[in-house]
Each structure stands twice: as C-alpha cells, then as structure tokens.
C-alpha cells in the first residue's frame, strides 16, 4: 500500500454552537486522487481549511508526511507543499494573468514556470490580460494554474468545476489525471460524473462526520450514502 502523505486524526471545529467538523479521521495516500463529497453545509470546506491552515482546529492532529503540522501557520503549510484553491474564486483581479501565476512561483526560471502552468490550463494566450476581465470559468482555471505553479505535494481543489462549461470540464478532468502520481489531489466536487471518473477513493462527509469512505464502487453501493446524499438533489449520474 502507498504511503500516507497527509493524515488527520480527531479533527474538530465548531462555529458558535454549530459543530462544522466533528472528530474526523482521514488519510490521504500519496499519489491518489481522493474525492471529498457531501451535501451542502456538510463541512467539506471547513475540513480542508483545517488541513490547509486557513482556520485553526478546536481539537485534533494533522500530519504531513509523518510530521505534525497542526501548529504551522497557513503560509508555512503552503511552503511545506499543501496548496489550496478557494471554493469562492480568489485571484488578483487587477493584476495580469501572468502576474497572478508569477506570485505562486518560487525560484527557478520565472517566465518559463508561469507559462508552463498557464499552458496546462489552456490560458497561455491570455497571459497579458487583466485577470479580472477573464470569464468566470477562466478565472477558476487561473486559480488552478496558481495551484499548479506552487508545485505542491498535495493539491486541494474546492469545487473547481463550478462554473465551467461542459467542454471545459472534459479538459479539466484530463488535466487532473495528468497530475498524479507526482502530486496527490484532494478534490471537493459536486459533479458526480467528475467524481466517479477521477477518484481512486471517496470520503463522504455529513453533518461534519465521516459517513462513509472507500473506493468509488463501494461508495456507489453504500446504502447510507445513497440515503443521505446521492438520493438527494445531487443525484448520481
């Protein structure tokens, strides 16, 4: 079995009286594509925010490649190799597309690294445009390019296909597949076609707890998952 690259145990976080993440144990295998699914408000974004350090846990331990990173601030975790792309697009709208990605590149040949990342998401021709003038879908792709330019060990994508056209989704799926096994991908995704097509394993969150985990086939067959989630408004394709 592959090594565990990122591990959480007993991770919890409450907002006021609301237990958004409730004692989650989680393991990410090096080189896999792991999907995190669950209904709206299940705690997915909160959970990955704990992993990336954007918010602090109330309890629990996070390990990256075996070392405890629970106390590391977010920027240090990014440097240690955990990249996060926001669910709500977060770019530098007044800077050029090139500068957006350049800010993610550390060391080496800046221009070459930027253009390589832009080429992978198909935005190379738009390098000189002001990022805020891109279409919504292109802004999402720009964010993915920024994530790639960080050359992370773990790439966390929070609903990356939201707002992409059907044609763009196919390209996106191919892109993600090309990242592994060098990069490990943790993908939050509502589009079940994308999840089933990409994921090696799936974790289902509901009310801040792990409802189920397993391979794609196991999750598909799990009656609890079907009841809580797949039977809902995000029906499985």
């Amino acid at each position: 079995m592959a090594a565990v690259i990122l591990q959480a145990s007993g991770l919890s976080r409450a907002f006021g009286g609301l237990q958004a993440v409730d004692g989650v144990d989680f393991e990410l295998q090096a080189g896999e594509i792991h999907a995190l699914i669950g209904p709206n408000g299940a705690g997915k974004t909160t959970f990955v925010s704990l992993l990336s350090g954007r918010i602090k846990p109330d309890a629990g331990v996070i390990r990256l490649g075996g070392s405890d990173i629970t106390a590391l601030p977010a920027h240090a975790r990014v440097r240690a190799g955990i990249a996060y792309t926001f669910q709500i697009t977060s770019i530098y709208p007044r800077l050029s597309v090139f500068d957006n990605v350049a800010l993610a590149v550390r060391g080496g040949d800046l221009a070459a690294s930027v253009m390589a990342a832009l080429r992978r998401v198909g935005l190379a021709e738009r390098a000189d445009q002001v990022a805020g003038n891109l279409s919504y879908g292109h802004q999402r792709l720009l964010e993915v390019a920024m994530g790639l330019a960080l050359s992370p060990r773990v790439l966390i994508l929070d609903e990356p296909t939201q707002g992409l056209a059907a044609g763009e989704i196919a390209g996106f799926v191919a892109l993600i597949r090309s990242l592994v096994p060098q990069t490990t991908v943790l993908l939050i995704e509502h589009n079940m076609e994308v999840v089933m097509g990409l994921a090696d394993r799936i974790t289902v969150l509901n009310f801040g707890r792990v409802l189920a985990r397993g391979t794609t086939a196991e999750i598909r067959a799990n009656p609890a998952v079907q009841a809580a989630y797949l039977g809902g408004d995000d029906a499985v394709a």
């Binding site: 977010a74 977060s90 709208p93 800010l103 960080l150």
Partner: protein, 314 residues
C-alpha cells in the same frame, strides 16, 4: 522601445529636468524645489506603504520626526558631523517604523490607522515632554559644523539644491527598482488580496513589516535631510499634519505610481503657496482641490494618466 526602456527613459528624463530646473530657476523657486524634493522622498516612502502595499498609516510623522531628531540630537548633544548624523536619522526612521509595525500590523484597516496615529501622537508628546533635551516646541537650529559636506556649506543655495537632488535621485531610482522587483509584485499582492497571498505561501505580517521598514527608512532619510538642509529641527514636524502631508501628496499625484509623490508635492506645495498669497483661508483652497481631485481623478493625476494613456507606468 521596450517597456523597460521607456520606463527608464521617462524617470531619468524627469531627473534631468529637475537638475536643469534647479540650475535655471530663480533662487526663490529653486529653494522651493529643494524643499519639494525632500518632502517628495518622504511621500515616496509613504507611497511604498500605502500606494503599493495598501498600508494606510496615519503615523508617518513619527518616522519623519525620528529621522529629523535622530540627526539633530546627534549633532546637538554629541556633536556628530554630517554623515554619521544623517545615517543615524535614516536608521532611526527605519527602526521606529519596525517598532510601530511590530505592534500596529497585528491590526488592519481602521484599527491600523488609529494605532499608527496614536504612536505618532505619543512621539510628538514625548518631544514636548523632554523639552530640556529636545528643545520642546521651540526646536533648535542645526549647528553650522554639521552642515559642511566635502567642504561645501549646506546653508548656501547651490550645495543645498545639489544635496536635495542627490537624495531625491537615489530615492527615486531605488523606488523604481523596488516596485519592479519580485518583492514589488508581492507588495501589490498584499494590497490586492491578502488571503490569496497567504495561501500562496507568503507570510503576510513579515512582508508588511519589511515594507514598513523600507517606508520608515525613506521617511527617516527625508526627516534628517530636511533638518540638516534647512538648518532647523522642531516639534511641529512631528505633528499629525506631517502624517497627513505625504498622504495628500500621494493622493494628488497618484497612489502606486513612482512619480506620483513628486508631482503631488509640486502641485500641493504651489497650491498652498499661491493660495496663501491670495487669502488667509488657504486651507479651503486645498480642500476644494482635493474635492475636485476625488470627483475627476480619484486615482490621482498620474493614476489617471496611467489609466488613460500609459498603462505601463510603474
């Protein structure tokens, strides 16, 4: 011409024009220009923090004052000569900005404005309180021996103009290099989207602290130079008015434009100069000018130029 070529041609051209202006202008205006150039260095430091990095400080008078008093007290109390005294002023500006930044940068937005304002006010009151060492609100003259550089006397117009120009030229070139560097891009990233920057691996506090120190060094250099060139150190230079002044220059000339502080300083200086010749209510004229600016060129004069005609203006 490449963009880099255009940028350097423009900025070196401005420096040449300033040198020529210093040489040909009548003494009154040449002297004004020396003052404007030193104050523009102060405003350039403010622009680095506010215009480029988005740090809206209301306490820059403290750093300017530290520069001025660092230089002045070294001359008065321990009889240091020009170079060590001015370098001490420069470093005092940077160190005071580091100290204020360590505390104030734990806040943001309005709190940051208030905390920096409080520190500057505390600095001003400290000068008054220790009046036996600082001269209090009377201030003190910078003695003649400290105003000698390479055998020239800074009390005379030409050496003073040259010294002001050299300071300005060095500050301008360094400012240009800074904002076009990789770190300059990171500064803009802080201003544009702090959370995104954190999640690209930047230590936001650390970056801002470095910017504060750079900004403080500019303010300190300007404060020391102002004292030594014009021969006087006084508490009025540490009042809140001197925190607002660089902000007005930057807003007028264009925040986040290297030449903005210079243009803003020239315009505001002469606006006040002309208005106070016409009416005792010259601050009213300044107010009206600012309202007009906000209505017609909210990004300042050069901000508007960049928006309409010169998108490459750094």
């Amino acid at each position: 011409m490449s963009v880099t070529g255009k940028i350097w041609a423009l900025h070196l051209g401005v420096l040449v024009m300033l040198a020529v202006a210093q040489a040909v202008l009548p003494a009154y205006h040449a002297n004004n220009l020396a003052r404007i150039m030193v104050l523009a260095v102060f405003a350039m430091g403010y622009n680095i923090a506010f215009g480029y990095t988005g740090l809206l400080s209301l306490g820059h008078a403290l750093f300017f004052g530290f520069g001025m008093y660092g230089m002045g007290l070294a001359v008065w109390q321990v009889e240091w000569t020009f170079f060590p005294a001015v370098v001490l002023g420069l470093l005092a500006g940077g160190a005071s900005a580091a100290a204020v930044g360590m505390l104030a940068l734990r806040t943001a937005g309005v709190s940051f404005m208030i905390v920096t304002l409080m520190f500057a006010q505390a600095g001003y009151l400290t000068v008054l309180y220790f009046n036996q060492y600082t001269g209090g609100d009377q201030g003190f003259a910078v003695e003649a021996f400290a105003r000698q550089v390479f055998g020239y006397d800074l009390a005379q117009d030409t050496p003073r103009a040259v010294a002001a120009f050299v300071l300005f030229a060095v500050a301008l070139v360094l400012n240009l290099v800074l904002v076009r560097s990789r770190f300059g891009r990171v500064m803009a990233a802080m201003r544009e989207n702090e959370e995104r920057s954190r999640m690209l691996g930047y230590d936001v506090f650390h970056v801002k602290l470095r910017v504060m120190v750079i900004s403080g060094l500019y303010a300190g250099a300007a404060g020391a130079a102002f004292g030594v060139l014009f021969g006087y150190v006084g508490a009025n230079f540490a009042t809140v008015q001197y925190s607002i002044l660089p902000m007005l220059y930057v807003l007028m000339g264009g925040a986040g434009v290297v030449l903005g502080p210079l243009l803003g300083a020239v315009v505001m200086f002469y606006l006040i100069d002309i208005a106070s010749g016409l009416t005792s209510a010259h601050l009213l004229v300044v107010g009206v000018a600012l309202v007009v600016l906000v209505l017609f060129a909210p990004r300042g004069l050069l901000g508007m130029v960049r928006e309409r005609w010169l998108p490459w203006l750094p």
